[in-house]
Symmetry: C2
């Protein structure tokens, strides 16, 4: 009976998402059916639908998981000790590398991102808010210690995040395969210069 | 005989591109055939093929024209007088607005961009080089007058251009329809702060 009593709802949802992610990676999101997922789990499609009311809902769960790992890594760096500039470099680089490893050069995972952007845009928005919050946390620490001159922390964090779009956004990473333009470290230098300088100079 | 002698090769190519651009805007690139273009020009498809060996080549010509207008506007601003920071703001804003007007909110022109990126990537690369050169010209002027602290002008121009991807790239403009994040002017402030600050501070 242990097997059956272990099958709590949360546990079943987790198992379905693990299998779905594996199948999406192996055969692609479009080609994977709910029946395929059910078959691996030795259950009926109807049973899968008890936990997720559509394939889209399963996709959303898988996307949340993939993005959640990046958010967790970002939050760990934001919560660590050390100079803000050093941690901001670490943070921006980690987001770039994790997104590149996840979504670029793997056509099947890239398909997942494209579908997330079309069908589950709220998941993407939510992810960007988490990443922005982690960046904001480090910028706020830098502003508090005087490392950064950022009187408007949310604005400075927003500009930092926007400046890094080429290195964060899966589509932009994929399009920059020829590696033209500044390197990640050069771009972070540029952003840090902006954060250190502040914006008191009268703008033309 | 005047009509016929006026039909020099350059003139005919121009006429074909004008008609093609109009049809691409009206009925979309995919649905427009070379026969449609020929019909408007009251000539045979075979005659169109004398000037462009494929529909793809016509697309390339239309894309070059659309992008060329932005390049021309950018080069005019780069060649003008006045403080570098003011002109850089003008330049970055102009590129954003022209790209937004051209490619966003118009599904048919957006289709053209997507196809340019897939099939005529060299046209896109060439366009980006022109835009980068105009930005580099203004950054160099700012560095020469001491407005900017940019010892490595090509690098500073590259970082400026990369920081503005969210406002330049048609796909990124289209995805930012909800206007979250910094405004164009806030982003330009951030970039100008970076250019003024330079990069002599020791990087962590």
């Amino acid at each position: 009976m242990t097997l059956i009593t272990d099958n709590t709802e949360a546990d079943m949802r987790r198992r379905i998402l693990v299998v779905a992610e594996r199948l999406f990676r192996q055969i692609g999101y479009q080609k994977t059916t709910v029946a395929d997922i059910a078959k691996v789990l030795q259950m009926s499609p109807a049973n899968v639908y008890r936990f997720f009311d559509s394939k889209k809902a399963i996709h959303k769960g898988v996307a949340r998981h993939l993005m959640g790992e990046v958010e967790q890594a970002a939050e760990n760096i934001a919560a660590a000790d050390g100079p803000a500039a050093k941690r901001l470099r670490d943070l921006l680089g980690t987001i770039h590398r994790m997104n590149r490893e996840r979504y670029v050069g793997d056509e099947k995972l890239h398909e997942m991102v494209a579908i997330a952007m079309e069908e589950n845009w709220d998941v993407c928005i939510n992810h960007m808010e988490h990443i922005l919050a982690a960046i904001g946390q480090v910028v706020a620490q830098g502003a508090a210690t005087g490392e950064f001159d950022a009187p408007d922390v949310p604005l400075a964090a927003g500009c930092t995040c926007t400046a890094m779009v080429r290195f964060f956004h899966p589509q932009m990473i994929a399009q920059s395969f020829d590696n033209e333009g500044p390197t990640l470290d050069q771009m972070v230098d540029f952003v840090l210069a902006g954060l250190r300088a502040g914006r008191h100079t009268a703008s033309p």
